[in-house]
């Protein structure tokens, strides 16, 4: 049972690390749109991509929202 004296303080540290990670993720906009990403992977173009590839619809603007 002595291990608990080490494990309990460690669990507290891990919880605080989890809180820190969550705050960072939240700041970077991870949780702003929880619906869209799931929809985007469903679909393909029915015409091959043309040479114009300057446009991206990816996460570059996610921070803005």
């Amino acid at each position: 049972m002595e291990a608990l004296y080490l494990l309990i303080p460690m669990s507290i540290v891990i919880v605080f690390i989890a809180i820190w990670v969550f705050f960072r993720a939240s700041d970077s906009g991870q949780f702003d749109d929880l619906v869209g990403p799931g929809m985007r992977i469903l679909q393909d173009d029915d015409r091959p991509e043309t040479s114009d590839s300057s446009v991206n619809t990816s996460s570059e603007l996610d921070k803005k929202n």
């Binding site: 049972m1 669990s11 749109d33 619906v35 869209g36 929809m39 929202n65």
Partner: protein
């Protein structure tokens, strides 16, 4: 006959139509050229996969919405500045947020993003499905904002520029913070529970004192973020409540949290007594969850209003060539400069602070100052922006640039929609305040009593009493139901401006309809012109059109439209003077003309009136002092849904009455056709007002549905009023409710929403009362411990909010009705 439905939008296809598009190897029938154009665009862009994966039919491709001229207004640099930001590094790159309507499934997202990717100059875009916001970055030299909006409209969606800086950010930040607080509280709750369970499970003597102490200290540490960060909203709420000397629902909650936390901390440090860290964290978490639910509901309600606010930039009719040339051009209000001449028609809001140059009129300042009576303004008087021109067309010179004035009008209207609280809600708040006060006293008494019976249980029981009581359910019951109902109504095209609408509508005993534009389409057409004198019919129409050019009355528009068909020299009328409900008078080439009812025109002609038209037509007479010139016979079509609406209200025990300024014969004909028993024609605004007031004296609760300028007074006098969306701006600002959809059946929607809302409110209040009656005594006798109380209270709040959210569901309307009406409208036009 086989019924055929549009492949794009699902509406029935009329047998005679021949629109179709080749999709996925077959010809698909389309219901209208709008849908055909949208579908063709989708196929031409190589996006026909959309039809394979979509989960429902697409929004109807409204032909008018495809390429509206107003979109170009967004390209003006002044307007662009308002909604777009320049990129910090590259001045040629712009960024803006747009609001997109009608996103329903994955296929919509894909379609919009692919279509935009094909627009030249667009560098990056991101569509946030949850908030319906589209973020776009584009090169200024590559494309214009209107190209982006057009691209979105081409595939069948509507997009508006969205001013994120001004509005969304604050709301969004609040939502984000609450989400974080919920998350932290949840994390901390789960961890604390892990330390609490062993202590509960351990039988006496199996856990040594050091271990228990360690568990307690660990729980204390993990409860800290929950209390100090997640619990903030309760402490802040309680503090502001106390500062304003009111007892809100946050007070007992904050007291309960603080008491439990401090008690447990003391017990941990001294090593004596019980700890309730698990109850504290769970309580905070569950309460925050119900708050988060409420916020989501309220934000949904607000978002619908927000969309209205950004629908279009307010525009103005500028007269660049004044006074030599009286032609006008539509410009964004933001583009008006000092010294610009602007034509303001009756019923229009004044876009900027200005001075009258020509004409005199009455100005309605009620939105700005609260002064309800229109004020007389002459040439040379200054007018504030945002005021409404009540009686006659005027030409004004802009003295200050627009920016604030018109915007503030809109913002005020929308804020007014959210601010006020209806009676029933005020009542609930008052009850909740008393409830909290009584509760605090009760908790102290219970603490004292238990201290005497069993001192070790006094503390947890007092906490349980504080926590279990749910004034939240009491004061949440009404606002959450009203917010949900308002939101649903906005999505159905009904904007409730006043807070009491739903409550009053439910109690309504009499429903009064105006005729023109309300029961009828309000788009009368000139069917026949009878010329009496020297002038031929066409020149009479032209003279009439010149007189009516600046009037917003539907009859006026019909005459103007009649004159538009063949081209000819423009006739200009000046010194136009309106007489409400009668007609107007003006000067053409130095001759005074009168246009309007027979009695009014007879005032200048002074001869016997010519023969009346066959009954059922509305005659408008034209005359000068030399004699009668012409009679225009106008006829108006009854709305397709009018009969159903009238029958609905009659079936629900309301007395339906028709009041009209129109001739009695016409009014009676419409009334008998619709089955309305009481109908009065030829009523002037004053008479209508008197009629309504007399009903009210007899104890009737009157709902009035109308449009047009003449109705403003009556609309204000009625207990609850509706203005048709197509009506003049003045009527809208005076009515309690605006029917934005332009469909009469929206009144039925509103009534249904009202009765549903009232029953939901009653259910909620009953539930809150029942819960408190059962739970508080249970906690007081010690049956409930603090964490059970926490669950009970949160569940009770959640039940109330979720019950209210049921109101948000829009009942499915049969598509056929809208379609049918569309056909009628196109016939009438």
């Amino acid at each position: 006959m086989e019924a055929l439905y549009c492949y794009h939008c699902g509406l029935p296809v009329l047998p005679a139509s021949s629109w179709s598009v080749h999709i996925a190897g077959a010809e698909r029938a389309m219901c209208c050229p709008g849908c055909e154009a949208v579908a063709q665009t989708i196929v031409d862009n190589g996006l026909s996969d959309y039809y394979v994966t979509r989960e429902g039919f697409s929004p109807t491709g409204d032909q008018d919405a495809l390429v509206p001229a107003e979109l170009r207004l967004y390209d003006a640099p002044e307007v662009l500045e308002q909604f777009a930001e320049k990129d910090a590094q590259d001045a040629g790159v712009c960024e803006a947020t747009f609001l997109v309507d009608g996103i329903r499934c994955a296929a919509c997202v894909w379609l919009i993003e692919r279509r935009l990717a094909g627009v030249q100059g667009v560098q990056a875009m991101n569509l946030n499905v949850a908030t319906e916001r589209l973020h776009v970055r584009w090169r200024k030299d590559g494309c214009k904002p209107s190209d982006i909006l057009k691209a979105v409209r081409e595939v069948g969606y509507t997009a508006y520029p969205f001013d994120a800086v001004r509005h969304g950010e604050q709301l969004q930040r609040a939502g984000k913070k609450l989400f974080r607080q919920v998350f932290i509280a949840g994390l901390s709750m789960m961890q604390v529970m892990m330390y609490a369970v062993p202590v509960y499970m351990a039988t006496d003597g199996t856990m040594d004192v050091d271990m228990e102490g360690l568990m307690r200290w660990a729980s204390l540490l993990l409860t800290l973020p929950a209390v100090l960060y997640s619990g903030l909203p309760f402490f802040q709420g309680a503090w502001s409540n106390l500062k304003s000397r009111a007892l809100g629902m946050d007070v007992p909650v904050a007291l309960g949290i603080a008491a439990a936390f401090i008690g447990s901390t003391v017990a941990t440090i001294t090593g004596k007594g019980d700890v309730y860290f698990d109850s504290v964290t769970m309580f905070i978490f569950l309460l925050l969850c119900s708050r988060y639910l409420e916020l989501v509901a309220r934000r949904k309600a607000a978002s619908a209003l927000e969309k209205l606010q950004y629908a279009l930039p307010a525009s103005a009719a500028r007269m660049p060539g004044f006074p030599d040339d009286r032609s006008t051009e539509t410009v964004p209000a933001a583009q008006l400069c000092e010294g610009d001449m602007v034509l303001v028609k009756p019923g229009e809001a004044i876009a900027a602070d200005c001075v009258i140059v020509e004409g005199s009129t009455a100005i309605d300042l009620s939105l700005l100052t609260g002064e309800s009576r229109p004020q007389r303004k002459e040439s040379g008087d200054a007018l504030p922006g945002g005021a409404v021109n009540a009686s006659q067309a005027i030409v004004v010179r802009v003295t200050k640039i627009a920016r604030e004035s018109t915007l503030s009008t809109l913002v005020k209207l929308i804020e007014r929609a959210g601010q006020g609280k209806p009676q029933i809600s005020l009542w609930a708040d008052k009850v909740a305040a008393w409830f909290v006060a009584a509760l605090l006293v009760f908790a102290v008494v219970i603490f004292g009593v238990w201290h005497w019976i069993d001192p070790s249980r006094a503390w947890p029981i007092a906490i349980a009493v504080l926590v279990v009581s749910c004034p939240c359910a009491l004061s949440l019951a009404t606002p959450s139901a009203l917010a949900a109902a308002t939101d649903r109504l906005v999505r159905q095209g009904v904007l409730a401006v006043q807070p009491h609408v739903l409550e009053t509508l439910y109690r309504t005993t009499h429903v009064i309809f105006d005729k023109t534009g309300t029961l009828t389409l309000g788009k009368p057409v000139v069917r026949n012109v009878a010329a009496f004198g020297q002038a031929d019919a066409m020149s009479c129409v032209k003279a009439g059109a010149a007189l009516e050019a600046s009037s917003a009355h539907p009859l006026a528009q019909a005459i103007v439209n009649a004159a538009r068909h063949p081209q000819g020299g423009d006739v200009v009328a000046t010194d136009i003077e309106h007489t409400a409900g009668q007609g107007l008078e003006g000067c053409i080439d130095g001759v005074r003309y009168r246009l309007g009812s027979a009695a009014f025109v007879a005032g200048i002609v002074r001869r016997e009136a010519p023969a009346a038209p066959p009954s059922g037509f509305t005659p408008v007479y034209l005359g000068t002092s030399d004699g009668w010139l012409a009679r225009f016979d106008l006829a108006d079509k009854i709305r397709a849904d009018a009969k159903a609406v009238v029958e609905y209200f009659q079936a629900h025990g309301k007395k339906v009455i028709l009041l009209s300024g129109d001739q009695d014969a016409v009014t009676q004909r419409v009334a008998s056709e619709l089955g309305i028993e009481t109908a009065h024609g030829a009523f002037l605004p004053d008479q209508k007002l008197e009629f309504v007031q007399r009903l009210q004296l007899d104890g009737a609760v009157v709902a009035m549905i109308g449009d047009g300028i003449n109705d403003a007074v009556v609309l204000r006098a009625a207990d609850v009023s509706f203005a048709m969306g197509g009506g003049a701006a003045l009527a809208q600002t005076h009515a309690d409710t605006v029917l934005l959809s332009g469909r009469l059946s929206s009144v039925v929607d509103a009534y249904e929403a009202a009765s549903q809302t009232m029953s939901v409110i009653r259910q909620n209040l009953a539930w809150a009362t029942l819960y408190n009656i059962v739970a508080i005594p249970a906690a007081a006798v010690g049956v409930l411990n603090p964490w059970l109380s926490g669950i009970g209270m949160s569940l009770s709040s959640a039940v109330v909010v979720i019950n209210a959210l049921r109101l948000r569901r829009v009942p499915r309307a049969p598509a056929a009705v809208t379609r049918e009406q569309g056909v009628f409208e196109s016939q009438a036009a």
